[in-house]
Subunit: 408 residues, 2 copies
């Protein structure tokens, strides 16, 4: 039995094209917000983990990114560790901080994810940084996989990840009869949620037809089904059970599970062994609860297909049934198990290193009942799936985290 760890403070910047901001300024802003929310000061933080994936390739800043950005935020002297696990970096960093707390190394820790990705004058480097999330010495392996599952070879001027997701979507349509309209329905559902999130990059509702009519990216996806390029930061303050008693924060949220896994050499159509499903099963086991007990869900929807895949992986419904459940309104605000009430990556935005932490921000805010128009009524258990990179037949790394409202 692993010792409990609590989230006692959360912070998130507005996500979007933040031309006037830097990694330093975003980090300072989100750190101050999370510390204030926890009711602690920078002096109380005993260690920090920093999640960022783009500074080396986009700004030439490598290695001690966290020390540099956090010093600007008043955090120095303490252990600081830089974590990278592609789009799963933020949640991976949380797991490292949880381990340090459980190990007795520290009692109060800060985890910050910050990403500056919007550089209109560096489109080539931005594309290269995305491509770097696959094995760059085995481009042929990625192309072979795309073709093998029935996809189209990559086009020019878009992220390789969109081609990968599109190929997977097509394979899913072939196997389970899902349709482009299902993906459009997912996107409409998600954008409808994002409209209510004041920190989201896009706050425009779309009808299913509007999603279908949006600019085509790669068949079967239109623009409204794909996550944008974003700047932003998110942070959490974590503590031990003993420290929580000292702090006496009534808003604390318990992390009941945090399961990180890497890809395997599974058969490409064996969805039962999908990294997302394996991580979900492990997380449910750690938390001692099952999919029916989850009230609010955040999945890593770099595309609308990913939402479908992860709803299945999390065991929220049988493969092939997502469309039906969507039409019944189960995954919408007000429905049975709302998915991506934050607007997900599609509407909220996807500043890679911050994304996993922004999911936890949303779940905590939901469990604390602070989400206003996007509030999931009575939410007590939240789950987040955060997957990153591509290796073999799936994400290189995936984390599934379960959080629970602390019983009063």
């Amino acid at each position: 039995m692993l010792a409990p760890v609590y989230i006692v403070g959360i912070g998130m910047t507005h996500f979007g094209k933040r031309f006037d901001e830097s990694v330093k300024s975003l980090t300072a802003s989100v750190t101050n917000a999370a510390l204030a929310d926890a009711g602690v000061t920078s002096q109380d933080i005993q260690a920090a983990w920093f999640s960022n994936t783009r500074q080396p390739m986009l700004e030439g800043q490598n290695t001690i990114r966290g020390q540099i950005a956090l010093k600007h935020a008043g955090i120095e002297g303490v252990p600081i560790v830089n974590i990278e696990n592609a789009c799963a970096s933020g949640s991976t960093a949380v797991l490292q901080a949880m381990n340090a707390i459980r190990a007795g190394m520290v009692e109060l820790a800060l985890v910050v994810g910050t990403e500056k990705m919007v550089f209109p004058d560096r489109q080539e480097q931005v594309a290269a940084a995305f491509a770097g999330g696959t094995d760059i010495h085995d481009r042929q392996g990625v192309l072979d996989y795309i073709v093998e599952i029935g996809g189209e070879l990559p086009g020019v001027g878009r992220s390789l990840f969109m081609d990968l997701y599109a190929a997977q979507a097509k394979a899913h349509m072939q196997t389970f009869g899902s349709t482009q309209e299902d993906f459009a329905r997912i996107a409409a559902n998600t954008h409808g949620h994002g409209k209510h999130n004041p920190k989201a990059q896009y706050r425009t509702a779309f009808s299913v037809q509007q999603v279908l009519n949006d600019k085509p990216i790669v068949d079967p996806f239109t623009r409204a089904m794909c996550a944008p390029v974003s700047d932003g930061a998110a942070a959490v303050v974590l503590c031990s059970e003993e420290k929580l008693k000292q702090l006496g924060r009534s808003k604390a949220v318990k992390i009941s599970a945090c399961a990180l896994l890497s890809t395997t050499s599974r058969d490409k159509f064996d969805y039962q062994q999908h990294i997302g499903r394996r991580a979900a099963n492990l997380a449910y086991e750690q938390a001692g609860l099952g999919p029916t007990e989850v009230d609010v869900i955040e999945v890593h929807d770099a595309t609308a297909y990913a939402t479908m895949q992860q709803i299945e992986n999390l065991g929220l419904c049988e493969p092939g049934n997502v469309g039906e459940r969507l039409r019944a309104g189960d995954f919408a605000l007000g429905g049975h198990q709302p998915v991506n009430p934050s607007g997900g990556l599609l509407a909220k935005g996807h500043p890679v290193g911050a994304t996993g932490l922004a999911q936890l921000y949303e779940l905590c805010a939901q469990l604390r009942g602070e989400c206003g128009a996007r509030q999931v009524a009575g939410a007590r258990v939240g789950i987040a799936e955060n997957g990153g990179g591509f290796l073999g037949v799936e994400e290189g790394a995936t984390t599934v985290t379960i959080v629970e409202k602390v019983k009063a």
Copy 2:
């Protein structure tokens, strides 16, 4: 009291210009060596941490470097985390693995550091990757610091870090009366050790005069006083106390301390608050022992000045006395407390992400009595200092690790 963690397997490749190797091949080679040494297989590894700092900027491979390289080595499916803390990445990764073991997340973990830095056709990127270890948005701050402590502004065609170390060396000469000959003596001492290390990049002994006569790099350093650019990998297999009983490895080494810290805004001449000293003090406290009890020392000698600085920081002698102790042979093989019996970074080489793990490789091999001509007789306690990046007035991150021979 933190739970004990043990090193049950070690591996290291030959360091040097490994033109025919890649991050994948070096990782596979060192992983196989460490697993074989531990008497376990890739299937036994429950989680892995990967330390690399150069792939994004030199190869365009970012984010899931560890998953890619380790899959090639037969490690997949398990949690894998990519760690970056500049030249202190390897030891920082070890601390993350220790935390996971102490937290009860896993019982047997692998930590690998691999770096491919020798790209003769990419000199500009190699220099940029080094520069990325400082705050690239505050170059002026670095220059101001160099001038303030009496150094020369950076020259063209060499790493900014050499200029930083040179300025610090000059400040030390001014304050404590240390001399260029002291640095030459240190380099001669270290190269004399490296001659006996079959895995070292350079195995050429130098007299003090030969060091002084070597090609000038930046006053007061000649080439023999500066670490080369290197390729290489090193790995350790870690386990819990319970797992050690199961494995029954008589060669196991106990990690009694691993103290990671980040830089502070201290006064630039307040050596008592140097990050290396603070980390050393913390490590001694964790291990419950002091400098006089240390038998074998590995310090992060990116330059010969760093050796002097860290001998002082580790409390092995008073500031300003290193020269005298050197002349007495105290830090040489056969002396009282041999420093860098491996040949250190100067002779052994400095493949950044692997360096901290190579220090632990050396200390374990020493404690196990396997070092042949460079063996420190009767070594029971070893200490390693691994510092990385530059921020403010010192390294951005420094780790001090203490290992002990397990009493039979």
